[in-house]
């Protein structure tokens, strides 16, 4: 199934997130990631929704999103030129003899060392989602103790 990136501008009001999420959950669709944030306008929020699904159903969901009174604009970013960013925090096992390797790896990816303990190291990194995927793969052999990603933000190119 294809992965879709849908950007939704909404009124900044309580209940809007539930309305939007409800349209996906009612169809049994699991959202891969969802970010909600402020925009340049005080009273408008933007949601970036990453979801996998059958294209006809996604088409239907987009139309249903448009029907929500609190939704101002729906844009499908899936096949458009965009800039996308995501942030990851990842904690890996870091015994003394592996630490310099991990520092080097972090440097290549421009990650920052967010925290360090006798047994582990926590790295923070921002980048395009694919870069984050690669970073995770390279860290996997060290033993990932904990990982979280913000979900992606997506902005159309001008």
């Amino acid at each position: 199934m294809k992965q879709y990136v849908i950007s939704v501008k909404v009124e900044n009001r309580f209940g809007v997130l539930a309305r939007v999420a409800g349209l996906f959950s009612a169809r049994g669709y699991n959202i891969d990631s969802l970010t909600v944030s402020a925009t340049e306008h005080d009273n408008i929020s933007v949601m970036t929704i990453v979801v996998r699904g059958d294209d006809r159903v996604i088409e239907q969901v987009k139309k249903q999103l448009n029907k929500l009174i609190d939704v101002i604009k729906v844009t499908d970013h899936s096949d458009l030129p965009t800039v996308q960013r995501e942030i990851i925090l990842i904690r890996v096992n870091a015994p003394a003899n592996k630490r310099s390797e991990l520092y080097q790896l972090g440097e290549i990816f421009r990650a920052e060392i967010a925290d360090i303990s006798p047994k582990s190291i926590t790295l923070g990194m921002k980048g395009e989602p694919e870069k984050i995927d690669n970073f995770i793969e390279l860290l996997r052999p060290y033993g990932i103790k904990e990982l979280m990603r913000t979900g992606r933000m997506s902005l159309l190119k001008e």
Partner: protein
Amino acid sequence: MKINGAQIIIESLKKENVEYMFGYPGGVVIPIFHQLFNAPFKFILSRHEQGAVHAADGYARASGKIGVVLATSGPGATNLVTGIATAYMDSVPLVVFTGQVSTNMIGNDAFQEVDVTGITRPITKHNYLVQDIKDLARIIKEAFHIAGTGRPGPVVIDVPVDISNAEYKFHYPEKVDIRGYKPKYEGHPVQIDKACKLIEASKRPVIYAGGGVVISNASKELREFVKITGIPITTTLLGLGVYPETDALSLEMLGMHGTYYANHAVNESDVLIAIGARFDDRVTGNIKTFIPNAKVIHIDIDPASVSKNVLVDVPIVGDCKHILSVINKMIKAPSIGPWVKEVMEMKKNHPLTYEKSSSGRVKPQYVIEELYRQTKGDAIICTEVGQNQMWAAQFYKYTHPRTFISSGGLGTMGYGFPAAIGAQLACPDKRVIDIAGDGSIQMNIQEMIVAVQHRLPIIVAIINNGFLGMVRQWQQLFYEKRYSHTCINFAPDFVKLAEAYGAVGIRVSNNDEVGPAIKKALSVHNKPIVIDFEVIREENVYPMVPAGKSIKETIMRELA
């Protein structure tokens, strides 16, 4: 001058020219009822909140106006849920006020608290929880606007009791401006042009008209469109009456229990013109075998209805009335003589019919025919759900919009009778008949006292077969005749029940008594009349396209 929230509600409803409000009191709405005591519009007290919301829905469908409901928090609100969902599925405009516990108690599991906006989110066009008295008037204005425009639907306003008591100056906005809600009424000219060309070049076109034509009051434009083009027309259940079924070009209803000729004409069409209809599964049957050779033109105000179930070749998003009037100005009649002849042959050779009673026992279809004959097709027919509904759709001939009122999308048993109360209030000069089943009528029978109280001469024609007939029919045809829990002949005496409420009760057990009983009922003008028609028990509704099957698998009549 400052007034309280309850007064703001009343003043706002006055601004909206509300004529009737339907509802039921309870703790947190006492401040609102306090003001309703001398409100200038009428309040209809139901005996169950579900009755109130269905009555408001029936009122809205019969009048074309917005139905208004008021119920208390908690159980009052949850009792409305079925009615709100019914209205949502059939695009009926309602503004529903529910009481809520005080804002400082919300989320505390307070007495009679439920999350109303949460519960009603997927069954409303929009809903509001009022958090600030300053917003109340604006929210009511928006709710009426949203409910009644675009594709209509129910809007819920949840009003905490402290908001009803809080004071603020009343200012009802003149205009509504919601940036996320701008319904589109005018169809795209390029699409309209394409549609006209496609129709003009067609050889086997059929019009498929639905409830959207009723809602947009486009019956006149539709009739003109048929007159200009000469194209045969079928309607959905909710579209009944938009085109006179007495006219030669009418193929009556299509779908699961539609006529042979409607289903076959649609399936053999080369251009299907869908107007205010949404290709429901009860219409299409097996979607894979539906209209194999047709190009589809779809006129609908809701973009989400277009290409949802069936891929559309020429979508025109907008209001049917507006679009049809534009099309009527430019369209030329296609040359479809042989096709119309073919369809007329089908109509002649496969009429909608049933075996007449030979035993003297009452045939349900005959009851409907006789109701049609004696009311001269001029009544408003409300129905419950099941066999009664389908026979009412098949054997009464509808010639005007807003004369057939039924829960189509949700299929809500217990809808018809309270809806008839609303319809009768909306149209006091019309005869309103609820065609009921012995199962459905028991779901909201408590509303009988409301009809008696307001002296509404509604005829309740109970097609009493002692079964939950439609489910029994499926059990007979598809589940080895195992009538599991569908036999309900352990029933109340409906005549005595009517009399206990102060209504008239008539029992009919012989086919010869059908006519006189209806005649007697029609002579009563100041109270409801219940006729208990004891009909042949295992009569089935035919034709029937079994669920999910193609029309080739239609069952035309009882298999010996």
